[in-house]
């Protein structure tokens, strides 16, 4: 059938046609007492019930199995407990309510109407379909993850204060290292796209909504489940294999490994859903006139990152699933005696794991490229190069994973190929630095807090990137593999890069998200302490690594004690700098609550052209984008958008391309 968009009769949405058939209205939404409405408390109840049910089911299924009787540990019960606990958590939150209504043939409310209508804090504890609420839920959730992972890092550095006097046993130390690494990798994959992507992207592309709000909300509510499951692994003896989960150790380890596999798998599903929704929204929900060539560079960054998530994370989930089946139903994916191979795990894990590196890096690139032109008051140099660089990194990142296997069984003839692809990826990465240099050129830079963090990002990522090129070289990698040199390298790229960019983005966009400005003086203290102590912590670790200190070992040569003490003390001070951020965040958003100006940075970004925080629905009417967001200092530059376009302009089908009609 063909349905004309403009039927002959006069009509409007809702179908108020005199004498015509009226659509069936949905059932009225009756207000219920708060404790009867799905929220975190019902979610917790569902999780507890689900866990108990899963545990009982696991015991029932496996009580007679010889491997359970011989080992004394029932992985079935643990895994089923985690899985059904997660399902119960989601059911308690009301995630499945609309699906069940649809299955029963009952109408569901449109996403715009189905969102939690309550205001205040309560909506942040519910399955809200408002992308701004989800963004702030993600923000608080990811900060919680980050602080937990940071405390674990403090524990690691406490142990390494001395090679001979131990705070933890070697097993406990390994557990802490594993929890720290896994938690940080899980959290950092979402730390930009979750809070900033969900909150800001629709504003930046001129949309009133996300494509799939239910999927968006689901992607967030999986993260608390993953967090708790991962932490619960400590109750079962943790996992002794770090965040990489190498087999056969991961298959043979105690039940803490179940927590690792289920938590990472759940987080992988969350990443897939997060990226899926973001891609579809960017492709389909851009405002009229928001051409690809006008897309903010941050949106390009999260778009490319989302592709990595959607395509790479399924392999992570598949790998974790195989680990779980090896540990429960006794498949032998990773047991070579029975026809499996531990190298299968290495390939699957790193096929996800290396794109994961760029899942962490690209959003940081996007943030700093977004910040630079605002504080340089110049157009972003090489906008197309920056976007092309991100696309190039995305494509190449699928062809480099074998460099993680240089020292663990790769066919030596294959090494040069992957050395070459790895070195090749430094070229599009280098574009980001060219863009920065071109933007800095003859600029009058404003050294506000977001810009300081952006500059810190460039300094740190340069060291991280160059040491990465060094490690991509086979002889160098063979020498430094498994040492603190590698650890220093990836902390420079991830913490020195992504976390600095995240902090810059937070100082930059928090006035938009909350209508409140973070204290700038405390912000500068935060930046300088974090910058100094970050470098003071991780720079010496290159030397420590070159001297041969291995990762994940709780003791080391006596001759390295001074350097290790220096690093540990610096790490504690680095933790103190994060505390400054927490104090600033709490002080500014809870106690002082100084309203921020509407556009404190005088940005041309579309998101800054509406009130802060954005009203429900973001825009009064769908805006029409007229020009790019970076035309600072360009004489005669048109306004970025028309927020009140004439009637008839935005309807693409009936009236053609809106941007063409109001082009200047």
């Amino acid at each position: 059938m063909t349905v004309e968009l403009q039927p002959g009769k006069p009509q409007e949405p809702g179908g108020r046609v005199p004498g015509g058939r009226q659509p069936e209205p949905g059932p009225p939404r009756s207000p219920r007492a708060w404790w009867r409405r799905p929220a975190v408390h019902t979610g917790v109840a569902g999780a507890v019930l689900g866990y108990l049910l899963g545990h009982l089911l696991g015991n029932f299924i496996a009580h007679g199995y010889s491997q359970v009787q011989n080992s004394g540990q029932n992985d079935y019960a643990i895994v089923l407990g985690y899985v059904l606990g997660t399902v119960g958590w989601l059911a308690g939150l009301g995630v499945f309510n609309d699906l069940l209504r649809q299955l029963a043939g009952r109408p569901v409310h449109a996403a715009e109407e189905a969102g939690d209508s309550s205001s205040g804090l309560a909506r942040y504890f519910r399955y809200s379909l408002d992308h701004k609420v989800v963004g702030l839920q993600y923000l608080v959730g990811m900060i919680g993850y980050f602080l937990t992972g940071g405390l674990l890092a403090m524990a690691i550095r406490t142990e390494l204060l001395s090679p001979s006097t131990h705070v933890f046993s070697s097993a406990a130390y390994t557990e802490i290292v594993g929890e720290h690494g896994t938690m940080m990798m899980m959290m950092l994959s979402s730390i930009i796209l979750g809070p900033l992507g969900n909150y800001l992207m629709p504003l930046m592309i001129g949309s009133k909504r996300m494509a799939f709000p239910r999927i968006e909300a689901l992607s967030f509510w999986l993260t608390p489940a993953a967090y708790l499951i991962l932490l619960s692994g400590l109750m079962f003896g943790g996992f002794p294999f770090g965040w990489t989960g190498y087999a056969p150790l991961s298959v043979e380890a105690t039940q803490g490994a179940d927590a690792y596999a289920v938590a990472f798998g759940v987080m992988g599903i969350s990443l897939i859903l997060l990226g899926f929704n973001i891609i579809v929204t960017i492709v389909c929900y851009r405002a009229p006139g928001m051409r690809w060539s006008r897309l903010p560079i941050f949106v390009w960054a999260i778009l490319t990152t989302s592709f990595l998530m959607v395509l790479a994370a399924p392999v992570l989930v598949g790998g974790m699933y195989m680990m779980i089946t090896d540990r429960t139903v006794q498949t032998a994916f990773f047991t070579s005696d029975l026809g499996g191979s531990s190298y299968l795990w290495e390939n699957l894990f790193w096929f996800f794991g290396h794109p994961e590196v760029y899942i962490l890096a690209l959003p940081g690139f996007g943030i700093v490229c977004e910040i630079l032109p605002v504080f340089c008051r110049k157009p972003l140099f090489g906008y197309r190069i920056a976007a092309a660089g991100m696309v190039g990194v995305t494509l190449l990142s699928f062809f480099v994973w074998q460099h993680h296997l240089f020292d663990s069984g790769i066919n030596p003839d294959m090494r040069p190929v992957f050395m070459l692809t790895t070195e090749l990826i430094s070229i599009p990465t280098g574009f980001i630095f060219l863009v920065a240099l071109g933007t800095f050129w003859k600029a009058k830079i404003r050294f506000s807090v977001p810009m300081l963090f952006a500059l810190g990002f460039y300094f740190n990522f340069l060291i991280g990137g160059i040491s990465g090129v060094f490690l991509s070289d086979v002889p160098a990698d063979t020498t430094e593999h498994g040492t603190f040199f590698v650890m220093a390298h990836f902390h420079y790229t991830i913490m020195g890069g992504l976390v600095f960019a995240f902090m810059g983005g937070l100082y930059y966009w928090l006035p938009k998200m909350m209508g409140i400005e973070l204290n700038q003086k405390l912000g500068k203290i935060h930046f300088w302490t974090m910058f100094v102590f970050f470098n003071s912590t991780f720079l010496p670790l290159f030397a420590v690594g070159m001297a041969g200190q291995p990762r994940r070992v709780y003791t080391y040569a006596r001759s390295l004690e001074t350097l290790n003490d220096w690093v540990s003390i610096s790490a504690f001070l680095l933790g103190g700098s994060i505390l400054v951020f927490v104090i600033n965040f709490v002080w500014s958003t809870v106690i002082a609550r100084v309203p921020a100006p509407g556009n404190p940075w005088r940005s041309r970004g579309l998101e800054w052209q509406i009130p802060s925080p954005p009203p429900p629905g973001n825009f009064t009417v769908v805006p029409v984008v007229l020009s790019g967001p970076y035309e600072y200092g360009v004489a005669g530059a048109p306004p970025v958008a028309d927020l009140d376009p004439p009637l008839g302009v935005i309807s693409r089908d009936s009236l053609g391309d809106a941007a063409e009609q109001v082009e200047v």
Partner: protein, 232 residues
Amino acid sequence: MSGTLSPPPSSPAPPPEPPEGVTRAAEEASFYHEAALNAAWTGVRLAIGGLSFGFGCFVFAYFYLRSLNSHGMWHPAGFKGPQPWAGALIMALVVVSALLQYLGLTRIKGGHKRPWQLAALAALALGLAAVGLQVWELLNLRFQPGSAGFASVFTGATPVFLIIVLGALIWLETLIMRARAVPAISFVEQPPTYAEAFAVQRFQAGLSAFTVLWNYLAVIAIVFWVLFYVTA
């Protein structure tokens, strides 16, 4: 702020007069309606990309372990694989279900709601039969999951396929239930209101998206059948 947001005064061509009867609400509803239709098209193709990587890791495991044949244990002598008739039947059920659904789609596009409903119900029943048979097969395996490399991949991959198929069937069931609320005449004639026209179009977009996914899963069923029953 408003200074930067007003319409550009130097616009060479003023926007055309809106068509009679178009209101702001109608215009925006139309805009987001079109976006939703595009989202269904884009989303299902993206989902297929993600699923391909998910299934791909099992296909990779299959060929990787088969190539390595560690300790000669990929498919050791005397190893009895899964029942060939069950594999063929599961594959056939999914493929026939997809064909029926596809034919039903062509009928509803031609304005015939009832034939699609019948085809969809049949497709749903066949799909559920495939799921049931797969469950039965997994509960009655002729080998231990860890008895060979092949056994591991089979025991690992088939439940994943089963879960994805079950998810797709849940989607089909919701479409069947949604279709009940749409008058048959709406598939033939222009509905009298925007709301109804949009509802019909969104249903059709959802149905088209589902059909693409279901056809894709039928292809995966064939691939798995070839890997696990024909070339094993």
